[in-house]
């Protein structure tokens, strides 16, 4: 397939634009998505191309942005609502959790809620405690919602298209740190990556590294370093936190019998806990070592650069965790 090398930011923009061209019902709403061109420039140029009807600047009203997106989706539109940062989605947690995720079930299928909440996520830019989260597992807790978290520009492109075309509500997390990173983006307007399907990023025989979004990058770096030391890592990119592709994890684990889980989020009640629980429940007979978790430290994040980075996971911490179990 023909592809162009583009940063994730451009891949997301391209997906949004193409889906808006393809389907009149798709529209964008959020804070500064229009005239400002998007805080992270994901919607750059869309206001000029599609106008104020389809690229809708909103007041700073997260509850109303998310709630109105739910109503518009129930009525037949396909809103793509942007949370400038995922931290602000906490203000709209009720609209996302109690309404978007539950309306189909509560009314026994009378309504569907085909929308996407796009949210810029992550930490590491001295954004300080209230603006530094990778809280995707919170949203993945709730049935009724899908949670997407792409690690590459190509995936961001194909997963956003899938999310927009899906009939269910999707929380689409975009890692701010990955926005500028380039990668191949397919030249195919119908490039759709199935909901809930993970990917093997690197094949290996000794240890399975399970990650998503930025964790994939740290895992691949760690794998390259460990290769020099004779340890062969397989890297599984989950891509979706819900549904969770445990079959893919198990397939890899049956081969390696060892696992390290890598995530940007906090450690308690986390993605890591979930994967580890699944492995011990379903793969007990294949386990040759304890399952290890690498996550952020269990802290609010400070401002000062020197200590902020101490709290974050990185490739070195992944290497250290792998060495504990091989």
């Amino acid at each position: 397939m023909a592809a162009r090398n583009q940063p994730m930011r451009e891949a997301l923009r391209k997906a949004l634009r193409e889906e808006m061209l393809r389907d009149e019902r798709v529209f964008v709403m959020g804070e500064e998505v229009g005239k400002w061109q998007g805080t992270h420039r994901i919607t750059r140029g869309l206001y000029e191309e599609f106008g104020a009807r389809r690229v809708r600047d909103t007041p700073i009203s997260e509850m109303a942005i998310c709630g109105a997106a739910v109503g518009a989706a129930m009525a037949g539109l396909r809103p793509v609502a942007e949370m400038m940062t995922i931290n602000f989605a906490f203000l709209a947690l009720d609209a996302i959790v109690n309404h978007a995720a539950k309306i189909r079930y509560m009314f026994d299928g009378q309504f569907s809620v085909p929308l996407v909440f796009r949210a810029a996520s992550g930490w590491g830019d001295q954004a300080t405690a209230s603006h530094s989260h990778a809280p995707e597992p919170i949203f993945a807790h709730f049935p009724g919602l899908y949670v997407a978290a792409p690690a590459t520009p190509g995936d961001a492109y194909g997963m956003l298209k899938t999310a927009i075309r899906d009939e269910n509500p999707v929380l689409f997390s975009e890692s701010i740190a990955l926005y500028p990173k380039p990668g191949p983006v397919p030249d195919d307007e119908d490039y759709l990556l199935p909901v809930g399907e993970g990917a093997i990023r690197r094949e290996g025989a000794d240890v399975t590294l399970v990650a998503w979004a930025r964790g994939v990058e740290w895992s691949l770096q760690a794998a390259r370093q460990l290769e020099r030391e004779g340890v062969d890592c397989e890297v599984v990119d989950m891509r979706w936190l819900r549904p969770l592709d445990m079959d893919l994890v198990y397939e890899s684990f049956r081969k390696t019998n060892r696992c390290v889980i890598v995530e940007e989020s906090l450690p308690m009640y986390s993605f890591g806990s979930e994967i580890a629980a699944g492995i011990q429940e379903d793969m007990f007979d294949y386990m040759d070592a304890p399952v290890k978790r690498v996550s952020a430290m269990d802290l609010p994040l400070p401002y000062a650069r020197d200590i902020e980075l101490m709290a974050l996971p990185d490739a070195d911490k992944v290497v250290a965790a792998v060495k504990e179990i091989v």
Partner: protein
């Protein structure tokens, strides 16, 4: 106390139809109350509409079938006035598969897509931005549908109210925000909860039409005010208005002290302002031959609710397949 307050009186058939709806709602609600006491309706949430019938009936008579209605958890009366069959509504109370929401929503989550009744919603204020979104779809698609959003006085003080009303004003969305001010958010009186207890006055702050405060126990006055509000919403944008009303059965059925706590006030509202009594008196005065027709409607309401109870009790409960169905669109 008269009704209509100077407004032109609709014809006899219209008044009788409103009477039919109001006695049906009262009968349905009082039956729900009895069924709950007898544990034939279970659960912890059942918020009855007795006393507030004129608001739902008068307001919904002002919109067309293509228009939209949405409300809070005090939703039985709105569902009935929107024309939803009492059988599947009662079945929902009893958690039956034949309920409007398959027995999975309960009293607070009634809806009927085919009636453009978008639901009862149980989180205070949660349905307000949904109303804005439903109105946005109509505007976006170039239709002139209106959304009638019932708003409890209690929800006027949470963030959803502010954000949804402001957004509707900024985007000129076709929403009628109708506050049903029954004076209490659970047990807290409106004057203890709102710095400005004349809730309709907030329209000024949002830059939208102020539809004023109306007598919510007067079905004709409600309908007359809503006709104007709906016309404005259809052509110009959002309207906020407030119907002063009263609930006869406390916040919910678990509120067992309301008739002690509010004894005098409750008796006064029932004796002097009951919306059904007032409409009945009005009908008899304007059309002295109406009594037999009204009696027939009262009997029909009793029969209809009895049939609904029978339908509900004879319906099967949902099963394990229903439990896991409709989490997602598969």
């Amino acid at each position: 106390m008269d009704i209509a307050n100077g407004a032109a009186l609709p014809d006899r058939d219209t008044l009788l139809d409103w009477y039919r709806q109001m006695v049906l709602i009262r009968e349905f609600e009082e039956t729900c109350y009895e069924l709950y006491e007898e544990k034939r309706i279970t659960g912890v949430y059942l918020h009855l509409y007795s006393g507030q019938e004129a608001v739902g009936v008068g307001a919904l008579a002002a919109i067309e079938p293509r228009d939209h209605a949405i409300t809070s958890y005090r939703d039985h009366g709105v569902a009935l006035a929107r024309g939803v069959d009492p059988g599947p509504l009662m079945a929902e109370m009893m958690g039956k598969r034949s309920g409007v929401s398959g027995g999975k929503g309960g009293s607070m989550h009634l809806a009927s897509r085919e009636h453009n009744f978008w639901g009862g919603f149980a989180i205070v204020g949660g349905h307000l931005p949904l109303a804005a979104g439903i109105a946005l779809e109509a505007q976006y698609s170039g239709r002139d549908d209106v959304v009638l959003c019932f708003v409890g006085d209690g929800s006027s003080n949470n963030g959803y109210f502010h954000e949804a009303l402001n957004l509707s004003a900024v985007w000129r969305l076709p929403v009628v925000w109708l506050i049903e001010n029954n004076l209490y958010g659970m047990g807290t009186h409106i004057v203890e909860a709102s710095g400005q207890p004349l809730l309709h006055k907030r329209a000024l702050a949002y830059g939208m039409r102020d539809g004023g405060r109306i007598d919510g126990q007067d079905v004709v006055a409600v309908n007359c005010a809503l006709d104007e509000a709906v016309a404005h919403a259809r052509s110009e944008g959002p309207v906020l208005l407030e119907a002063l009303t009263y609930r006869y059965r406390g916040h919910g059925v678990s509120d067992r002290q309301y008739n002690v706590r509010l004894k005098d006030e409750l008796e006064e509202w029932k004796a002097e302002r009951d919306p059904i009594t007032r409409l009945g008196a009005c009908l008899e005065e304007a059309h002295p031959d109406s009594r037999p027709a009204m009696s027939a409607l009262e009997q029909a309401a009793r029969d209809q609710v009895l049939a609904a109870v029978k339908f509900a009790e004879e319906s099967p409960a949902p099963d394990a397949d229903d439990l896991v169905r409709n989490v997602y669109v598969e």
